[in-house]
Subunit: 415 residues, 2 copies
């Protein structure tokens, strides 16, 4: 099947999924979990093949050691993967939530109700455990999904996908073709053109991948190209605790998108030198060059800038930041209020490490990614971001004419 | 100023608006209303100029009589316009609503809070009253806005804009350049390229305009290109009432986007001939040609198709519809449930005219347009569609490290 046919049948599946009851979706997820467990040896064997091929690429310098590490699927990751599916089963169904009910007039009742989006394309790089996570979230939210994994994990992806698909086929009444996997680069190109069938694209991977996708499709894209996160250390911040947070936000996982890239320090913060020393001791290289304020290091490197006041910090962040996550460390209520209201980012933090910006840490159970969009969904995106709403109007044969003529008026009350 | 400079300063205004209190926004709106009233004679004079120029274009056949009619601003429309601003003042502030508060751990509190989107570009055609409506909604929701009206109403738009801008300049502390008006076609082209500054584009006008915009920008577009609305008359529908609704949905305002274009009739509906007769008596031409199922007539013409059952009706709508508004007329609960769940449109109605699909009728106070998008906002879009949310995290100097190591665990409880 070419990508257009795949998208077409995914669309058909999505229409069937619109009315899928929670029990059916959870039964499908339970089958998926059990079938992955049942086939885990085949999956490990497939992963071994990927690792062998990847080793050759590492040797040639074509992929990095860290990509190789991410590729590896061991018993621990398998356990997490299965646990992830269980977690999704236990989450509330995000579909059919009634946001409100309003009487427009006697016997004319309007309801705003959550529903699935439709067909979602997810493009991810070398992390085979993503496939079960995304498939689970899609099933739970009643969306059909087209997955494209990194070529480095093709064997593993295919094995996991095969277990998922077999499980769905064995789930009575579950629509066919709800979960799809494609392999070639041409499929990405094709997918990006299929706005007739695909409602949302979620890229998870390098800045380059995300930017390429954002620039080559009319389909809405949910994600973030870069994570330029800031910490502003205000003059009133508690010295030792502030230093601990700066080190944590950089060192705990330097390549994470929510790691700090620039530390802005109030000129009167009394421990500037201690801060620098602590960062250096933790192996962090400090850069004080304005040309680097837009760089996502993804490494143990951090920009540092002394600022005059909170306003300068806010302006700097709104100018150079990526709208991801920014934190103020301060004991001054006015500064904190200003920062929390005027920093235009999806996450604004007071006295906490930027590294908390994550769907699991927010208690969403799972995440499809982190969005720096200004529409639809922002920040870590869980099940809610995979839904939209529809309006259901329940009438008793009302026509508009008498309302337009003013013979009848609306009551407009929430009930 | 060229369009890029305008967008840049609108972006600056939007950052200032992020923290604007309700009182400031309402004071600005009150000033706008009063100033439009104060300058109404200048506005009427400007409108006269537009009408004179438009008359020449009507004579030449370059614009239609109905465009001319929409252009006209009389005392009634002025009163509605001023009342519209008052209505927006009386609406709840959509910003700073706390959706939920969650304890992640002791002393680590996460809040999901509504906030403005940023800079919104609105491109509309010949209806000068739109400008005050959109400007009011933008001010109330804390967004900066760049407006581009139809060239036919250039004089009127400029006069209304001048009154709005003067009022905002005279509102203490209200940011400069929050509301902007541009005139040339090149400005549209320019605007669509400024994804760096503009967060959302809302086109209001012909299908052609909307399609052009959707196809020529990376900025999210909120709107609908076409309104192919359906009514399915089930076999069990109450005869006379069903016929009345079909006539209302087509005749009451045939060029509205929520007017019905295709009536699907169950083969066993016992009054098919009466339905046709009633439509004909109301001056409606009936077309029974499959080639026309995707046509938005915008006129007293309707497609009619006999269907076998509810499933065929649903499939027809999901295939040919535009996801705008579709209605089932039926007394059969199963058919109704199926229709309401499986028709993939922003509005699904039971026993009501499709013409109810409208922000005012839904009680939103005002609308920026109707969206057939599958993300962000769907159906009639009011103030809520002009907002997004941010996550505010309030901590007490927590680092991520102990959570990552499993030394600390999250409590994740809503409070």
């Amino acid at each position: 099947m070419d990508i257009k046919d795949i998208a077409k049948s995914a669309k058909e599946a999505s229409l069937e999924l619109l009315g899928a009851p929670s029990e059916l979706k959870n039964a499908a997820l339970k089958n998926v979990k059990e079938n992955i467990e049942r086939h885990k040896n085949e999956i490990f064997a497939a992963n071994k093949k990927d690792l062998q091929e990847a080793q050759t690429l590492v040797d040639k310098g074509e992929i990095s050691q860290s990509t190789y590490a991410r590729l590896k699927l061991d018993e621990n990751k398998m356990r997490d993967m299965l646990k992830g599916i269980e977690d999704v089963i236990s989450l509330d169904d995000p579909v059919n939530k009634v946001f409100w009910t309003k009487e427009l007039d006697e016997g004319l009742i309007l309801k705003k109700i959550s529903c699935p989006i439709g067909v979602i394309g997810v493009i991810f790089e070398a992390r085979p455990d993503v496939i079960s996570q995304i498939a689970s979230l899609a099933i739970k939210s009643g969306n059909a999904v087209i997955l494209k994994g990194g070529r480095e994990s093709n064997h593993t992806n295919a094995a996991i996908f095969s277990a998922i698909n077999e499980a769905l086929e064995n789930t009575l009444n579950f629509p066919k073709n709800a979960v799809n996997l494609v392999f070639s680069r041409d499929d990405i190109k094709g997918l990006l053109e299929l706005d007739e069938y695909v409602d949302l694209i979620i890229p998870r991977g390098s800045n380059k991948l995300v930017k390429y996708i954002q620039e080559n499709t009319k389909i809405p894209v949910l994600g973030h190209a870069s994570g330029i996160c800031h910490i502003f250390v205000d003059e009133s911040a508690k010295k030792d605790l502030a230093i601990k947070i700066c080190v944590d936000a950089k060192v705990q996982y330097p390549s994470a998108c929510n790691a700090v890239e620039t530390i802005l320090v109030h000129k009167n913060f009394p421990a500037i030198e201690e801060l620098k020393k602590a960062l250096c001791s933790a192996g962090v290289k400090i850069v004080e060059n304005p040309a680097d304020f837009s760089v996502e290091y993804g490494d143990k490197i951090v920009s540092l800038k002394i600022v005059e006041n909170t306003e300068e910090a806010i302006n700097h962040i709104n100018k150079y930041g990526s709208g991801h996550t920014d934190s103020i460390l301060s004991e001054n209520k006015d500064s904190v209020d200003k920062f929390m209201n005027y920093v235009d980012s999806s996450g604004v933090y007071h006295n906490a490490s930027t590294r908390f910006s994550d769907g699991f840490r927010y208690g969403f159970g799972a995440e499809v990614g982190i969005s720096t969009n200004k529409t639809h969904a922002r920040g870590p995106v869980g099940l809610d971001g995979l839904t939209i709403y529809k309006y259901k109007l329940f009438g008793s044969y009302q026509t508009v004419d008498p309302y337009a003529k003013g013979e009848k008026t609306f009551t407009h009350k929430f009930i």
